[in-house]
Amino acid sequence: MESGNVAWILVSAALVLFMTPGLAFFYGGMDRSRNVLNMLMMNFYCVLVVPIVWVVIGYSLAQVPFDNGFIGGFDAVMLKGIGLDDNGGSLATIAYLGMFAAITPALISGAVADRMKFSAWAIFVPVWSLIVYVPVFKWVFGGWLGQRGSLDFAGGTAIHVNAGIAALAAVLVLGKRRGWPQEGHPPHSMPLVMIGTGILWFGWFGFNAGSALAANGQAVQAFMNTFLAAAAGGLAWVLVEWKRDGHPTNLGAASGIVAGLVAITPAAGYVSGASPIWIGLLAGVICSYTVRAKVRFGFDDSLDVVGVHFAGGLVGSLLIGFFANPAFFGGEFREGLFYGGSLRLLGEQALANGVAIVWSFGLTYAIMVVLKRTMGVRVDPEVEANGLDLELHGETAYHGGGLH
């Protein structure tokens, strides 16, 4: 592999690693000051445990042998047989994919905020990674769903839809926060939210453009798409809420940026021209409404993982059925409806997401129920009232003045 490609994959991997702290700040800022450290810890924990799980067994199960459509095997356990030939190209890819494995369960943490036992989370993350993330990843990237022709460039189905629907299953088992939805909890630190947003967008260039696994034209287009869809998503959300709620807000901008980024993720290497703008705009508008579903349907998805990641990921994934443009890329994938294609691609997208949704929802629900029956998943009401930071982690986020 050329040094330029190796450099690009390594940079992209570092960028995706940086996204998990970014996500932690994005979520943590939205949380109350007595639970922010629990939120940070749930996220940081993912980058502690998943990397180990990934290289010990996850990668092997997710990929090797490559021609197996359903699940890999044990051939590459603990990186067995992975050398540095090809200038380190394959090892770089494994590291890069490990970053994705780490951030995916972290996405779910926003939904279960403020009430989940950390001990349960500590078990949930590696288990979920192995029995939910790994198979869906396999099926979508190189496995049977991918082989049928569904497209997912950087993880719309495998990551956002997957984690988003898992978040729904998790909160259905976990139950609502004390006082929700009557009591509101505005973000305790909007600057922290915006720090997270900045890091997320920055890192997402690695997430999407890195998924070309080379510094080539497709990477460049994915980069441009990531730039435009995020901007369009943020703009759309801000305009909707300005009209609807009377104010253009920072949280709206941040949420719209993330919605646009989520939606372009599956499509980034397949669409071109003005398409990312349309995808971003649609995602921004739609997600600014889907975040309201939780109140209507009564599931307490604390920080809107379902409304943003599930909805945004699904929107983006289905829009590939309209906007995919193989001619532009000189690629061998199906055309979208707007580029002369048939309904076939849209059908494949629907199928792939449908399978991911069923698998992820069902198994996540099952994992949560087992955890609930064994160790319990929910903190005591008093712990919830006093705040998880102090009760579970023995820490307090801010200590000021002379009072300590």
């Binding site: 009591e183 009232a385 006093n386 102090l390 023995g394 820490e395 307090t396 009072l403 300590h404």
Partner: protein
């Protein structure tokens, strides 16, 4: 007139406020404070070193009320703030001489 001061658990604030409002209170002033008492503090551990935090977060409410309402409102307050667990806090009442509404200059009971 009377000044009722109450120190309560932070997560009880909303309930207390609602109870007082129902009892006719239209104004009060709240401060974030730290309490030291029988409840004791807690220990935080950073890098294995224990820090004893003696002061726990509380909310202090101050309400100026008419003499006649004081007892009743103290009861409402006590009711609303009680969890029955140690650290529920205290209420005390002091006499005050004047109350003035800055906006209008009204004073006495009219200023409440």
């Amino acid at each position: 007139m009377k000044l009722i001061t109450a120190v309560v658990k932070p997560f009880k604030l909303d309930e207390v406020k609602a109870a007082l409002r129902s009892a006719g209170v239209v104004g009060m002033t709240v401060t974030e404070v730290r309490g030291f008492g029988r409840q004791g503090g807690h220990t935080e551990t950073y890098r294995g070193a224990e820090y004893q935090i003696d002061f726990v977060p509380k909310c202090k409410l101050e309400l100026v009320v008419e003499d006649a309402d004081a007892d009743r409102l103290v009861d409402v307050l006590v009711e609303g703030a009680r969890t029955g667990k140690i650290g529920d806090g205290k209420v005390w009442v002091a006499n005050i001489e004047t109350l003035v509404r800055i906006r209008t200059g009204e004073s006495g009971p009219d200023a409440v």
